[in-house]
Symmetry: C2
């Protein structure tokens, strides 16, 4: 079975173990052997390890995996969990097949305007759209910062988005399952 690194912020959830167990179960049901942050049953719990040890475990898992499927649903803000973003960049540089999914349907630029600058005036007039603090707002139609989406697309990966925001974006696995299904199709080609 090809191994797949399940990047994502689920490790922070109160019910992390249950959610990650279900993600692993689904990955196996599509023919992948799952690995990733906090998700290797055989390795013992992450709690109690220091940052160096957690990093070393994750880096080792990334180097061993053939695929990465990253959950880039916004985490504590308007963008993906930064640990997940690090892993996407790392695995693309390693030449692995990296895909992502998000439970937020909107473009990153839409979230910047509607969430970060909610209710504030946007400067539309100067050629490049900017917030009231002068910071340019990305307008590339991507799910997150263009480096993430375009990095994935540059190696023929895909970023799948939920069509509408689900009731529980931190735990909904509908788009995750669709991504696994689509990945099995490239694996069998």
């Amino acid at each position: 079975m090809p191994s797949i690194y399940l990047a994502g912020p689920e490790v922070f959830l109160q019910d992390a173990m249950a959610v990650m167990r279900e993600k692993r179960r689904l990955a196996r049901s599509f023919g992948f052997e799952p690995t990733g942050p906090g998700s290797d049953e055989n390795q013992g719990p992450v709690v109690g390890l220091n940052a160096t040890a957690i990093y070393a475990r994750n880096e080792d898992a990334m180097r061993r995996a053939e695929f990465c499927l990253a959950n880039i649903t916004p985490f504590r803000g308007i963008s993906a969990d930064p640990g997940t973003v690090y892993e996407i960049g790392f695995m693309i540089a390693l030449g692995r097949t990296v895909w992502a999914y998000t439970n937020h349907p909107d473009d990153y630029g839409v979230r910047v305007r509607s969430i970060w600058y909610a209710g504030l005036e946007i400067d539309e007039g100067s050629g490049r759209r900017r917030g009231p603090d002068g910071l340019a707002i990305e307008n590339h139609g991507k799910a997150d910062n263009l480096m993430i989406d375009a990095g994935i697309e540059a190696q023929c990966g895909r970023v799948l988005r939920a069509p509408v925001l689900p009731a529980d974006p931190d735990r909904d696995l509908t788009t995750y399952r669709e991504a696994l299904q689509a990945l099995t199709e490239i694996c069998s080609n």
Copy 2:
């Protein structure tokens, strides 16, 4: 001169060109040839390029650079700019020497509590500190998500932090300059 990729969100600033020009000037004054997002004078402006072209330009610059110095000062939230985080992961996987600096003095976990959960109750009692939404709060004493700091440290890089938040965290170059100085010392060893 060793080349250095200057990762960071300066490209979004209203005065991006002036700030990046000064960063390049400082890099050269310490003996580095700067490259990075929007910072190659010879390449023409980024404005007008699509995401694919910008990504390709940045990836090419990352592959050519020997060093990376990343500005991980929080950007539109409590963490570093996601494009910058991608580049840190990418260049570490390439085996480059990656350092970072931030103009925010606090630990990531402190920012999560004081900014993201400002005024809200933190659950301290259950072994792992959690926000009122149940999400665990990292407590590793790092500047950002542990993957960033520990990834940099795993290859003997350093994350430099400003001792206090400067008046203009988006533009202050004091800690950037210190990082360049410290980098020259490893270069001459």
